[in-house]
Amino acid sequence: MASSSSSGLTFKLHPLVILNISDHYTRIKAQSQPPPTTSAANDAVSPPPPPRVFGCVIGVQRGRTVEIFNSFELLYDPSTHTLDRAFLEKKQELYKKVFPHFYVLGWYSTGSDAQESDMHIHKALMDINESPVYVLLNPSINHAQKDLPITIYESELHVIDGIPQLIFVQSSYIIETVEAERISVDHVAHLKPSDGGSAATQLAAHLTGIHSAIKMLNSRIRVLHHYLLAMQKGDLPCQNSLLRQVSSLLRRLPAIESEKFQDDFLMEYNDTLLITYLAMFTNCSSTMNEMVDKFNTAYDRHSRRGGRSAFI
């Protein structure tokens, strides 16, 4: 089904579309009920196929460039294999009011590959846009894959077995970002799932980076050391070039060795330790405070609580 398109259109995809599709899919997947386990404990039962989500993509077409800006969700009717038409038109009207330049450019779905049934939907949309695009997101996570799991299909009329048929052909695309999108994507990319504060995560990320760098340095030095020891014992043949390199490296150290540096270094070290100490203190005090509260609630017969807190 897929071969490279020959229409010559360049597609530009905005990250907002990708995030919308991914969010839609995740939501539907999280809300779907897990199937009831059969009492026969049939191990051959495969996990249910991931749900497919559908929606519309909108954007602007200027000459040979198709720029896909936004998307919205649509309901898929599995009996008639069509998308909800009335809703689509209503949504289109609403979007027209806010973004007068945007047109419905096509539709999106999730899955690993384009399917035959998709052609129905595609043809149904052809009355809104003569040549709609089909954006397909592959939700299965493949760590080996480096590219985005998004493919854009166009429809082309090919003659197969003497019958002219519409088939999907793949097109290439590039990602286009507006400044606001770039900042938000950057923010989302660096967000850690544990705590939300951006300052805290930045510091933690910075320190983790330094920590891993030092760890790597330490392991490399250890390898060298081990190697030199083996050479000294005679297990390995002496390699003079390597020894020369090591000795030149060692002669470059220590990088700074002066009284003033030592002074400043120790002062800064002490300051950082003091701040860590203060943080530990505060942490420990708060843990202790909570524990004392719990203890008082559990064991002190006459402890008076402060009364109900006021309604906000």
Binding site: D263, N270, C284, T297, Y299, F311
Partner: protein, 424 residues
């Protein structure tokens, strides 16, 4: 006594490996009444047993011997034999029958007190304590007895060595109260006032359902040590104090609280007159020595207050402000304080001027790094312990019951923004 003889043979035979010893333990438990009835005649059996190998059997027989009433002449013999036993016994065997061991040691302590020679008991008690503990964080019943002996024998340093350990497990609350109280007194004797303050604070704030005399006495000493060490005393209790203590302790220490008030005025003369007036009360509580230390600490407070106002001051002026008798006395006081590290100053003897300095610690040295690092490590361990305790408490059914009952009946979502009816 055939049964007794066979028992001795069994003890000698079954003291090899741990499984044998466990078997021996069950056998010995069965023969408890035999021991009690034959207590007077068991003493010669002890000679046949070796305390280091047959510790468990020896312990049982010794306990039976010592529980019988003992005359004064036998007392010192008993003391000697118990001390020897404690020294030589095997710790693992003793831990199988801790209560017997504890009762032997308590009798030992009683006999020592009768003989009025506490010094003899200090070392054996220490060994006994260490053998009974299975880890240094455990508080045994022997701890307060040991500290009492140290106090009576005035060997404070030995007592201090025990007090260095952090205690995390307590069996009997009475042990804990006594341990902290005696420990506080030992620290006061060694002039380690901060540790004394900590220990006495523990007694005062420990959970208690009824007021006990130890807490009352400890509270009085706590007030005095707080005045000596910190120069102030806050009347409010921390929130982890039991409500029993919060309501009742103040009633029993009225003169001390008034002492606090007169101390806070900062006038030596008032303080001294107050102490004179209440001499008998302090004397009856045996706190007169501490009270005298409080008075002398007043001078220190006043001199410290001077450091905040003046950069240099003459010794004559210091004596005048602090109401000391002469410049010489002032010099002695200031010198002592500099030595103790309570103030930083230099005395210029030529013109009798004292120059007050800042704390010279620059926080730049490697030793300071090590100190802070070790403090951080200790705090991490403590924090982990506290989190574990907090989690344990959260699973406690007592706690869950109370929390469930007192939960807000209205959840935030249930709150209707438009109330359907008003209740006034």
């Amino acid at each position: 006594m055939n049964s007794v003889a066979t028992l001795v043979a069994q003890i000698q035979g079954l003291s090899g490996s741990t499984s044998d010893v466990n078997q021996l333990h069950t056998i010995l438990k069965q023969f408890e009444d035999l021991f009690k009835s034959e207590s007077t005649r068991l003493a010669p059996l002890l000679t046949e047993l070796n305390p280091s190998i047959h510790s468990l059997g020896y312990l049982y027989i010794l306990e039976a011997c010592s529980s019988a009433p003992i005359s004064k002449e036998q007392a010192s013999e008993l003391v000697l034999s118990v001390a020897r036993f404690i020294d030589l016994s095997a710790a693992e065997q003793i831990r199988l029958a801790p209560d017997k061991f504890i009762s032997v040691c308590k009798r030992f302590k009683d006999q020592i007190m009768l003989l009025e020679d506490p010094m003899r008991g200090v070392a054996p008690m220490l060994t006994a304590l260490r053998k009974l503990q299975y880890s240094s964080v455990q508080l045994t019943t022997l701890h307060p007895d040991f500290l009492l002996l140290c106090l009576l024998a005035k060997c404070y340093k030995t007592g201090l060595s025990i007090l260095e350990d952090d205690i995390f497990e307590v069996d009997q609350p009475r042990d804990f109260f006594l341990y902290c109280y005696y420990g506080g007194m030992i620290c006061i004797g060694q002039k380690k006032f901060s540790k004394a303050l900590e220990l006495l604070h523990n007694v005062v704030t420990a959970p208690m359902s009824v007021l006990n005399a130890i807490a009352i006495e400890a509270y009085k000493k706590y007030i005095l040590v707080s005045l000596i060490h910190l120069g102030q005393f806050s009347i409010s209790f921390p929130k982890y104090t039991s409500s029993v203590a919060q309501r009742n302790l103040k009633n029993f220490s009225q003169p001390y609280l008034e002492l606090v008030n007169s101390y806070c005025t900062g006038k030596i003369s008032e303080l001294e007159s107050f102490v004179q007036a209440n001499n008998e009360k302090f004397e009856s509580d045996k706190n007169l020595g501490l009270v005298k230390q409080v008075v002398s600490s007043m001078y220190k407070r006043n001199i410290q207050r001077l450091t905040q106002t003046y950069l240099t001051l003459s010794l004559q002026d210091i004596a005048h402000t602090v109401q000391l008798n002469s410049a010489k006395e002032a010099e002695m006081h200031v010198l002592q304080m500099i030595q103790d590290g309570e103030i930083y100053a230099t005395i210029n003897q030529k013109d009798g001027m004292v120059r007050f300095l800042e704390d010279p610690e620059q926080y730049k040295t490697c030793e300071m790094i090590e100190r802070i690092d070790s403090s951080i490590q200790r705090m991490m361990v403590l924090s982990r312990k506290l989190t574990d305790m907090g989690e344990q408490l959260s699973c406690d059914p007592l706690y869950l019951g109370k929390v469930g009952r007192e939960r807000q009946r209205f959840d935030f979502d249930d709150f209707d923004t438009v109330p359907s009816k008003f209740t006034i």
